[in-house]
């Protein structure tokens, strides 16, 4: 079971930074793949019943991932992630910004830093998100919850069809 796996979520309001740490019961290469390959990312990054769809992803320094969070009623929230640094299997950094469907970014965005380490078959991922403003951080949540207004019953029905 995964109940013993560490999950830490801390916010330094003064530094405008969010720190997230999570352990996964899998090897480092596998976890690295899950965070860096579009076909795997699309399977977990959107909290159900939202889904994620990557239009394209070039995982290289200067490359981009352009993807949408799609709500059950079809609303799309597009995001551009630009990779600013990559150290295979251990670290990558990106610049996250919301965008329209034509990839025009709404700046400023936020800086994300991912670190991976493995001990005894458990992989720890540390994520640091620096936001210039709370308003931008607020949009991150908006991206998750857009169109999330259906009744609880609808949600249950939908989940039943998904499972």
């Amino acid at each position: 079971m995964n109940n013993d796996l560490l999950f830490d979520f801390n916010v330094d309001k003064a530094a405008k930074t969010v720190y997230i740490t999570r352990e996964f019961n899998a090897g480092q290469s596998l976890v690295w793949d899950a965070f860096t390959k579009a076909e795997l990312l699309d399977q977990w990054v959107a909290p159900a019943p939202m889904r994620a769809k990557t239009k394209y992803m070039n995982f290289e320094v200067g490359g981009r991932r352009f993807y949408a969070m799609i709500s059950p009623d079809g609303q799309e929230r597009w995001v551009v992630q630009e990779f600013t640094s990559i150290t295979p299997k251990t670290n990558f950094k990106l610049y996250n910004a919301f965008a329209d469907k034509d990839e025009n970014r709404e700046l400023p965005g936020s800086d994300w830093d991912y670190n991976f380490s493995e001990q005894n078959g458990i992989t720890k991922v540390d994520i640091t998100i620096y936001n210039e403003s709370f308003e931008r951080l607020e949009k991150l949540l908006e991206g998750f919850t857009i169109g999330f207004t259906m009744s609880l019953q609808n949600l249950e029905e939908l989940l039943a069809t998904l499972s």
Binding site: N2, F24, A34, F134
Partner: protein
């Protein structure tokens, strides 16, 4: 332009003002005295804090006292809790995905 709550809290003087008035409501003059600042500098901080609703004024006689608006801070914390919840949901989804892709390794 609407003030950003992150920007408001990021300033050390404004954090000190919030800490102080969380204990006791103060007039702008009293704040200026306590922080050894000009009345003008205090007014600027008050404006920022007021615009993002972290403090609220209350008239008492001829004086205006500023109170800490704990509700706004709670809203902010509530929002952060939702953000945390989303991450938790995502990571649980990843846990499942990792068990299904594992055999291929």
């Amino acid at each position: 332009m609407k003030q950003d709550i992150f920007q408001a809290i990021a300033d050390p003087t404004r954090r000190a003002i919030l800490t102080l008035i969380a204990i006791q409501a103060l007039t702008p003059n009293a704040m200026a005295e306590k922080f050894d600042m000009t009345r003008q500098a205090v007014s600027k901080h008050i404006k920022v804090l007021h615009e993002c609703e972290l403090i609220k004024p209350e008239q008492s006689g001829r004086e205006i006292y500023y109170h800490f608006n704990a509700k706004k801070m709670q809203e902010f914390d509530h929002w952060l809790a939702q953000f945390r919840q989303n991450w938790e949901t995502q990571f649980n989804q990843l846990d499942q995905l990792l068990t299904t892709i594992k055999p291929q390794e």
